[in-house]
């Protein structure tokens, strides 16, 4: 057998959350939670990760829920990207979820990969990290005899580094529905369709009753060690939604980000994209807000 295979590991298949937490407490830092595995398994096949214990949470009942409440969408640990993407109530409550999810890899990957797993993986080029950060969402972490809810700003600590401790499992993410008359959009450039984003930008634009901008904020991926959120309200506030100065907002974002160069793009090109995609996403989000009839979450 060729060597491009995962290292041996002990496989655990708990069927209750209590069992998951027992095992994680026992194996400590040697353990890794397996949800969709669409990032973890390639890392293991390339031997970039070699956990001694794999704790498969796919057989735990009740973790695959996608629940839309009055104030947002709750996504359980084993809910697949595809289930979130196709959920009509979730789309109605937080349109940005579907707008961003269609950029997450390919449909085949989204059939298995989980939204909460991609958050826990904390890849700064992962779309859902910026969606959570932009919406001000939270992740709930369960440990043995404990549970804590961590805001996006504290959850993403560095590249592939989240606040999940070895004895914890991320059981749920909450994506709050934007308040007021708010539109959203996602814009992204990747080298090939479905590849990792060279840069991606999500935007939220909130309008008043006269369709003038009251608040606008963007969230960016692939331009820093964690998702980057930039409030660009100063550039747009008080302006009509269809003629707002998105170019000025783009300039604010270019000044705010400090991207790294890599084989796919120079830092300067990434900064350029951050500005250009900000303009595009803000324009689309403002249009969506202007077109919304009921004024948001009513």
């Amino acid at each position: 057998m060729r060597l491009v295979k995962p290292s041996p590991f002990v496989y655990h298949r708990p069927t209750t959350l209590d069992q998951v937490l027992e095992i994680l407490a026992e194996v400590g830092a040697d353990g890794k939670v397996l949800a969709g595995g669409q990032s973890l398994i390639p890392l293991m096949s390339m031997r970039l990760a070699a956990p001694a214990h794999l704790v498969d949470i796919n057989h735990v009942d009740g973790l695959d829920r996608v629940e839309t409440e009055r104030d947002g969408v709750r996504v359980g640990a084993t809910a697949r990207h595809a289930a979130v993407e196709r959920n009509p109530a979730a789309f109605a409550s937080v349109p940005l979820l579907r707008q961003a999810l269609v950029h997450v890899a390919h449909p085949t990957i989204r059939n298995r990969g989980t939204t909460v797993g991609s958050l826990a993986h904390a890849d700064p080029s992962g779309e859902m990290t910026a969606v959570l950060a932009l919406l001000g969402g939270t992740v709930t972490l369960a440990g043995r005899g404990s549970e804590r809810t961590v805001g996006a700003a504290d959850f993403f600590q560095g590249p592939l580094e989240s606040a999940v401790r070895p004895d914890e499992v991320a059981v749920e993410a909450f994506f709050p529905a934007p308040e007021g008359r708010t539109g959203s959009a996602w814009a992204e450039v990747s080298r090939r369709h479905g590849d990792y984003a060279v840069c991606g930008v999500g935007a939220l634009v909130t309008l008043d009753d006269d369709l003038r901008v009251t608040a606008s904020v963007v969230g960016l991926i692939s331009v820093g060690p964690t998702p980057v959120v930039v409030d660009v309200s100063d550039a747009l506030a008080g302006q009509p939604h269809d003629t707002a100065d998105v170019v000025a907002a783009g300039a604010l974002v270019r000044a705010a980000v400090d991207p790294e160069p890599d084989i796919h793009a120079t830092a300067e090109y990434r900064r350029h994209l951050a500005g250009a995609l900000t303009e595009r996403a803000l324009r689309d989000a403002a249009r969506a807000a202007g077109a919304s009839v009921d004024g948001g979450d009513a």
Binding site: V4, K5, V10, I41, T108, I109, R112
Partner: protein, 162 residues
């Protein structure tokens, strides 16, 4: 040492089982343990799509799943995309009709992906057909004939024989 696991799947309608280590990928389980070599293994990290199979009806990368993790599931491989009598299924026939393959290495992943896609979207436009195969790589055809094959397969499923 890693203890072995008994993994039982329904593959193309037939119950199959084998005793394998936990790290056995579903792609290798199908090929090495069950002898179903129709599923091809290309990049082994989820990029190329050659190993795509249907697990409980939905296309997934078999190189990105551990066999033990889908114990009990129903799996359809390219070998199962044929008619009950063993003749070519509509997607396979369409690839034949529209020259949708050259070397054929990537073809099993395309056939499974398109089979599932047409279940959900029986009448795709050309743009939708292009989008449907965007997650699969082919180094021979330039894709045009594969897109034509998607549209042909949709016709065949509707009983259009022209």
């Amino acid at each position: 040492m890693t203890e072995g696991h008994q993994v039982a799947l329904t593959v193309n309608g037939i119950p199959r089982a084998a005793h394998v280590p936990a790290r056995r990928l579903l792609s290798d389980f199908l090929r090495h343990d069950l002898g179903l070599t129709g599923t091809h293994v290309g990049c082994e990290h989820g990029v190329c799509g050659a190993c795509t199979v249907l697990v409980d009806g939905r296309p997934v990368r078999s190189c990105l799943l551990f066999a033990v993790s889908v114990d009990g599931a129903s799996v359809t491989t390219v070998e199962g995309c044929c008619e009950p009598d063993g003749s070519l299924g509509p997607v396979q026939q369409a690839f034949w009709d529209r020259h949708g393959l050259q070397c054929g290495f990537c073809t099993p992943g395309f056939v499974t992906t398109i089979t599932a896609y047409l279940e959900e979207n029986p009448d795709p436009t050309e743009d939708e057909a292009r989008e449907a195969i965007a997650g699969n790589l082919c180094r021979c055809t330039g894709y045009q004939n594969i897109i034509a094959s998607v549209l042909r397969a949709a016709d065949l499923r509707r009983g259009v024989r022209a």
